[in-house]
């Protein structure tokens, strides 16, 4: 594992308040109303540095809106969101986002796509070139650095997207159903790959998904969200050993978690 290539500047950010420093992301009573429609109600959560947290809920329940609020792209109606102790008022560079579909510019090579965030952030491109190549190598697509996106498969493109989200060394990685457009086999593989990448550089990950198994497999903690207006119904710690293997999905303990999460979701539907 080539962990040394990853910058750790954002992790060591000292905060005068020790309690605030232990939680990299704090959401307090967040609420979002679009015109008359209440999308999110009283969501509060704290996420520790290097934690892998999934937000699990049915499609269209407001998970994405919550994620976009953390990214500073959607204004909240009420409540507070802070990253590293600073209030989120707009987009900020400590955040990396991965969307459902890989967002790559078709006219740029894979390497140039990974360097796009650097250009947008007005950082010196040459300084990040080696890091981009290292990231691609770690994501096992180093040989494709000089190809165009259309020459890559769907899973490979999503790997490039993850590299894009990591290039500027953000402290939080926001992932919005990043593997839901992939076939089931590729999806499981990508989960394992994501964990490997995560373990190499220990970002905080907020992973939105509607797949119960995926949430249980990847996370330290799963937050179960109910339908509109979205609230957090339960907070389930997944106490399974790491690194996790696909074979773990056969284990009884894993399946106990899956059953428990499914019951919580079903209970929310019954309400």
């Amino acid at each position: 594992m080539r962990a040394e290539i990853f910058f750790t500047s954002s992790m060591s950010a000292e905060s005068p308040d020790r309690k605030a420093a232990s939680h990299i992301l704090r959401i307090k009573d967040a609420r979002k109303v679009y015109r008359d429609l209440e999308v999110i109600r009283n969501v509060s959560l704290n996420v520790a540095a290097s934690e892998f947290v999934s937000i699990l809920g049915p499609s269209g329940c407001g998970k994405t809106t919550l994620l976009m609020m953390v990214a500073g792209l959607v204004e909240r109606t009420e409540g507070e969101i802070s990253i590293n102790g600073e209030l989120v008022t707009g987009p900020r560079r400590q955040v990396g986002v991965v969307f459902q579909q890989p967002v790559l510019l078709p006219w740029r090579t894979v390497l140039d796509n990974v360097l796009l965030p650097i250009e947008l952030l007005k950082l010196p491109r040459p300084k990040y070139r080696q890091r981009a190549l290292d990231l691609l190598t770690m994501a096992k697509i180093g040989d494709f650095a000089h190809r165009l996106p259309r020459q890559l498969s769907g899973g490979m493109r999503q790997r490039v997207s993850i590299c894009c989200a990591l290039i500027h060394d953000p402290s939080i990685l926001l992932m919005d159903e990043p593997f839901s457009a992939l076939d089931a086999i590729t999806r499981d593989e990508m989960g394992v790959e994501l964990l490997r990448i995560w373990q190499a550089n220990r970002k905080t990950v907020i992973f939105v998904t509607h797949s119960i198994r995926e949430a249980a497999f990847l996370s330290d903690r799963v937050l179960v969200m109910g339908r509109r207006p979205a609230t957090i119904l339960d907070d389930v710690a997944i106490d399974l050993p790491r690194p996790r293997q696909i074979s773990m999905m056969e284990d009884e303990r894993f399946n106990q978690y899956v059953r428990r999460l499914r019951k919580l979701i079903e209970a929310s539907h019954a309400r």
């Binding site: 990214a71 969307f99 510019l105 250009e119 947008l120």
Partner: protein, 263 residues
């Protein structure tokens, strides 16, 4: 195994073969049926006219070509600028865009005589007609290109604190290029039509003027020679744009660099 050039010529073989056969049939029919040259000259006579009167044809071709290219260029620049305004200004998008679209029901060619009344019989009238005819496809296609960028792409760029200026040059503009080129390909053929119509209406030079003049003199071979020269020029202009498109928009070509198959 055929190369790309080889395949290109094999694909061209059929249409060229059929065209040559049609010309031969035309030649034979005119000769066998003894049709008078005023009504339908055989292709050979048209070709002879093209070479014998090449000077007359060329002196009239240049002003037409000049107006076509200048009018087209004005439309491309103006159309892209208006498309940018439509993209970034909600007032223009909501107020002017519908007017631009609805105004397309006016058959623009019909306005040509009005331009003569306003601007005389000179190059100004022709130029304005060309711009009028080509402006719409340029604007609409460019505006569509600028506005159709992926919503997530836009969100990602904003999440990374990208400025509007950066988003325009790094994302919107390259994304719009294929749309701009399809607008250009439509516009260049319309530009040729615009020039010819304005020369029909009132002009003392140009291929349109020559076609009308030859018609008045019942010189059908010259008319057809002029039409042929005009068609070849139009094809050449279109070809130049298609060539530029092929080189600039490399990411949409079907041949993959390095021979890696698309899966």
């Amino acid at each position: 195994m055929l190369g790309r050039v080889g395949r290109f010529f094999v694909e061209l073989g059929w249409p060229i073969g059929i065209s040559v056969a049609a010309l031969l049939l035309w030649e034979l029919a005119v000769r066998e049926l003894d049709i008078r040259s005023i009504i339908l000259p055989p292709p050979s006579e048209v070709f002879v006219a093209m070479f014998q009167r090449s000077e007359l044809l060329l002196t009239n071709l240049w002003p037409s070509l000049y107006l076509t290219v200048v009018g087209f260029a004005l439309s491309v620049v103006g159309g892209i600028l208006v498309a940018v305004l439509i993209t970034y200004s909600s007032i223009i998008r909501k107020g002017f865009y519908p007017i631009i679209v609805v105004s397309q029901v006016v058959p623009k060619i019909a306005i040509a005589p009005l331009f003569v009344v306003w601007f005389g019989t000179g190059a100004m009238s022709s130029l304005l007609l060309v711009v009028l005819v080509t402006f719409f496809p340029m604007t609409i296609n460019s505006a569509l290109g600028f506005q159709s960028i992926d919503e997530d792409m836009h969100r990602m760029a904003r999440a990374l604190t990208g400025s509007n200026w950066q988003i325009f040059w790094k994302i919107r503009m390259p994304h719009a290029l294929p749309y701009i080129f399809s607008g250009m390909k439509i516009s260049i053929t319309l530009a040729v039509i615009g020039v010819i119509v304005s020369e029909f209406v009132a002009s003392q030079e140009g291929i349109g003027y020559l076609i009308k003049l030859a018609g008045g003199l019942l010189d059908t071979p010259l008319m057809m020679a002029a039409i042929t020269v005009l068609s070849i020029s139009g094809l050449a202009l279109y070809g130049l744009i298609a060539l530029a498109e092929h080189h600039l928009i490399y990411w949409q070509t079907s041949d993959d660099i390095g021979g890696m198959g698309r899966s």
